[in-house]
C-alpha cells in the first residue's frame, strides 16, 4: 500500500527542512509509486534506471515543490518530464515484457488517471501514439513497427518525431 497524497506532502515538507527520516520514507514511497507509474510505459528492465533518474531529479529539484500544493501532481510532472526525456534517448531493446496496470493498484485512482502517462498518450493522434509505443516502448525496429501498424517506415519516423515533440509540450497537461 502506497501512502496517500496528504502523507507524501507532509513527508516532503519535512524533507525540505532536512529531516532525514522523513526523506527516507518519502524516497521509498516515491520509488514504489514510480515503479507503478512507469509500468507498461517503458521496457521492464529500464524501469529501475528511470526510477533512479526521477528520484535524482526529485532530489535536485526539492525546492520546486510548494508545500501548500498537492504532492502527487508535482511528482507526476517530474516523472513525465524524465519519461519523455527517456523516450527521446531510448534505443532498441529485445525485451518487451510489460508490467500490470498502474491505476488498478493505486489507492487514489481518480488522481492517478489524471496524471498518468496513458493520459498523455490519449492526447496524441492514434498513429503517433502507436508508432511511439511500438518503437520507443516495445523496442521494435522501424521496419518491424512499419509492418505491425501498416504505416510506411518514413511515416513511422515522422510520427515518432512529431509525437515526442507533442508529448514534450504536454508534461503538465491533465
Amino acid at each position: 500500500m502506497i501512502a496517500d497524497d496528504a502523507t507524501m506532502a507532509r513527508l516532503m515538507a519535512l524533507s525540505q527542512t532536512g529531516d532525514r527520516q522523513a526523506y527516507a520514507t518519502l524516497l521509498a514511497e516515491c520509488q514504489r509509486w514510480l515503479q507503478r507509474f512507469y509500468a507498461r510505459r517503458i521496457v521492464q528492465h529500464q524501469i529501475d534506471d528511470l526510477v533512479q533518474d526521477t528520484l535524482l531529479s526529485l532530489h535536485r529539484k526539492l525546492a520546486s515543490y510548494d508545500p501548500d500544493r498537492p504532492f502527487l501532481p508535482w511528482l507526476a510532472a517530474i516523472a513525465r518530464y524524465r519519461w519523455v526525456d527517456h523516450l527521446r534517448k531510448v534505443y532498441k531493446f529485445d525485451e518487451t515484457a510489460l508490467e500490470e496496470g498502474f491505476a488498478a493498484e493505486n489507492p487514489e485512482p481518480a488522481i492517478s488517471a489524471r496524471i498518468s502517462l496513458d493520459r498523455m498518450f490519449s492526447y496524441l493522434p492514434p498513429a503517433q501514439a502507436r508508432a511511439i509505443e511500438l518503437v520507443k516502448i516495445e523496442g521494435l525496429t522501424i521496419a518491424e513497427a512499419s509492418q505491425a501498424c501498416g504505416q510506411s517506415e518514413s511515416l513511422v519516423k515522422v510520427n515518432i518525431h512529431r509525437g515526442l515533440k507533442k508529448l514534450a509540450t504536454m508534461i503538465e497537461k491533465e
Binding site: Q16, T17, G18, Y23, S64, P73, A77, R80, E172
Partner: protein, 217 residues
C-alpha cells in the same frame, strides 16, 4: 554531487547523505524578486539615463499611459507565468499570458494600420534613430529582469524550457521597455508601436534561443 548508478537502496542512501534543508520556491518570494528586479531596472534607468522632465513635472499623455500600462501588464503576466512554470504540477495551464500578448500587439498593429491608411511614411515618423536607442536601452534594462527570472528558473523545474525561455524574454523586454519609456520623450503611436514593441519581440527571440540551455534539467 555525483551519484553512482547502483542498486536502489544504496542510491537512496546516497540521496539521504546529500540532503540539505531547502527553501521552497514560494510564490510570494518569487513575486517579490520579480518586482524587485523590475524596480531595479527602473532605478538604474533613473540613475544613469534619467526620467524625462515632463514626467517628473506631472505632465502625462494618454498614449504614454496606455502603452506603458500595457507593457507593464504584459511584463507582470509573463513574469507570473515564468514563476509558475518553475514549480511544475500536472494540471497547470499557462495560457493567460497569451491574452496579454494579444492586447499589447494592438500597439504595433495600430501603428501599421495607421501607417498604411494615412499613406504616410510611418517608419520615418517613428523616429528610427531614437527608436534604436529605445531598442538597445530597453533590452539592456530588461537583462536585469531576465537574469533574475533565469536564476529563478534554474532553481525550479520548468518542464517546457523553450516556452519558459520565450516568456522570460517577453517579461524582460516588456519590463525593460516599460522602464525606459519613463525616459523616452517620443509618445506617438508609430514610435511606440514599432520600436517599443520591437524591444519585446527581440527580447522574446533572445530568451527563446538563449535561456532553454541554461534551465534544462
Amino acid at each position: 554531487m555525483i551519484f553512482m548508478r547502483t542498486d536502489t537502496h544504496e542510491f537512496i542512501d546516497d540521496l539521504l547523505d546529500d540532503l540539505r534543508p531547502t527553501r521552497p520556491l514560494m510564490l510570494q518570494r518569487s513575486l517579490l524578486i520579480a518586482a524587485g528586479s523590475a524596480a531595479l531596472a527602473i532605478g538604474v534607468m533613473a540613475l544613469f539615463i534619467g526620467i524625462r522632465p515632463a514626467l517628473t513635472a506631472g505632465i502625462l499623455d494618454l498614449l504614454f499611459l496606455l502603452a506603458s500600462g500595457l507593457f507593464l501588464m504584459l511584463g507582470i503576466a509573463a513574469s507570473f507565468t515564468v514563476i509558475d512554470m518553475s514549480r511544475p504540477q500536472v494540471g497547470n495551464t499557462h495560457i493567460g499570458w497569451m491574452w496579454a500578448v494579444a492586447m499589447t500587439a494592438l500597439l504595433p498593429l495600430t501603428a501599421i494600420v495607421l501607417g498604411f491608411s494615412q499613406a504616410g511614411n510611418a517608419f520615418l515618423q517613428s523616429q528610427p534613430v531614437q527608436g534604436l536607442n529605445c531598442l538597445t536601452n530597453g533590452s539592456m534594462l530588461g537583462l536585469i529582469v531576465g537574469g533574475a527570472l533565469t536564476m529563478w528558473l534554474r532553481r525550479g523545474a520548468p518542464t517546457s524550457p523553450g516556452q519558459a525561455g520565450l516568456l522570460t524574454g517577453i517579461a524582460a523586454g516588456s519590463l525593460g521597455i516599460f522602464a525606459y519609456s519613463l525616459h523616452c520623450p517620443f509618445g506617438d503611436i508609430y514610435h511606440i508601436g514599432l520600436w517599443h514593441s520591437m524591444t519585446v519581440a527581440v527580447s522574446a527571440i533572445a530568451g527563446r534561443v538563449i535561456v532553454p540551455a541554461l534551465i534544462r534539467w
